[in-house]
């Protein structure tokens, strides 16, 4: 165990190594570690936030769904009511329209009847006139008179 210049050599080497480590090894590794720590913390925080947001969203979705169901029920009820109303209205309308049409048809029929009666009356008058004329002529021709009567009868 004899001491020699190795002591000094080792000390110098040691100082140089520590200097190198302090300058080029330790800081970058520590920086990376710190950065990763921050990154992980941020990631965890984001995950928590995401979870919370999801919960909120789920709650909101449930609420919206509930509201929508309610609204839908309301709309259906209203629609049913309205449908019933419409049916009722159209029934009434139809009855009224039917009555109107019936009345119009009746009026037309009556008109037709009147018109037919009018024309019939005219024709009867004509025929009577013609018959009378012919009867007057038959004073001269008796046989012809009979025929005429027959013909008249057939016509009526």
């Amino acid at each position: 165990m004899n001491f020699n210049a190795t002591l000094i050599g080792q000390s110098i080497t040691f100082v140089v190594f520590v200097w190198f480590c302090m300058k080029f090894v330790w800081p970058p590794i520590m920086a990376a570690l710190t950065e990763r720590k921050a990154k992980i913390a941020a990631g965890l925080a984001a995950a928590d936030r995401g979870k919370h947001e999801q919960e909120l969203a789920e709650k909101k979705a449930a609420e919206t769904l509930h509201q929508a169901k309610q609204q839908a029920a309301e709309i259906i009820a209203r629609a049913e009511k309205r449908a019933a109303e419409i049916v009722e209205e159209s029934k009434n309308d139809a009855v009224a329209e039917g009555n109107r049409l019936k009345a119009a048809a009746q009026a037309e029929i009556e008109q037709e009847v009147n018109r037919a009666r009018e024309s019939l009356r005219g024709q009867v008058v004509e025929l009577a006139t013609a018959g009378a004329g012919r009867i007057l002529k038959r004073e001269l021709d008796a046989t012809a008179n009979d025929e005429l009567i027959k013909d008249l009868v057939a016509r009526i």
């Binding site: 000094i8 080792q10 080497t13 040691f14 520590v18 330790w26």
Partner: protein, 290 residues
Amino acid sequence: MSATTSAEYIKHHLTNLTYGKFPEGHEHAGHWGFAHNAQDAASFGFWSINVDSMLFSIVLGVLFLGLFRMVAKAATADVPGGWQNFVEWVVEFIDDSVRGSFSGKNALVAPLALTIFIWIFLMNFMDLIPVDWLPWLAGLLGVGHLKVVPSTDPNITFGLSLTVFALVLYYSVKMKGVGGFVGELTLMPFQSNNKLVQILFIPVNFLLEAVTLISKPVSLSLRLFGNMYAGEMIFILIALMYGGGLVLGTFGGLLQLGWAIFHILIITLQAFIFMTLTIVYLDMASQEHH
């Protein structure tokens, strides 16, 4: 390797490859060269160097810095790969240790602790390489002696601990001022309200505090050196058994395996203790305690 007796074998393994100037009276007097034996090495005096210790400690230190620098250069906050993961785990472990033991803020302490821990661990780790391999390889290359575990060389351990000691002194003076540091050395632990008694206490206090202070680097380096030297010695003794026939050799093999497994614990522990004590000493140095 021409070791014949056990004593020679052991001695051979415990001799550093020392480079220095041969003194007067030697056959190579005045020349620079490698020591042929322990006597030569001792005769070189202070201005010689243990080439093997320096070589291995530098190679291991460069290996450590290279491997860690690789990660530092590519370090990202994304998902780390295998080696980066390991390095980050080590760095985090050191960082935790420093945070736990060092109360102040100092950019030097953590890298210092990392360097000490990994470097000493690697130097100790050389102990697990079977004792004859590297010296045998060196022998093939014509190198007579090779001590592969740098931390079994007191020059290496003292080189580390004295540097730490210099830092302790530096931070003591820096944080407390020269007066504060001197006061710490002379005015404690014995104190008195009487001025005269206080003055009489100064030499006593100084003696006690000086011993406390000096014991720091000495215990730091001797603990590491002693543990590693003893461990290496046991490996060498076990290796001696290989020459004792089949039964003894097999037994030696089992012993070596057992000791090596146990030694993994020791080398890690010694590196950790050196690091932790360094942190604690520096913490004490930069703290004003009353």
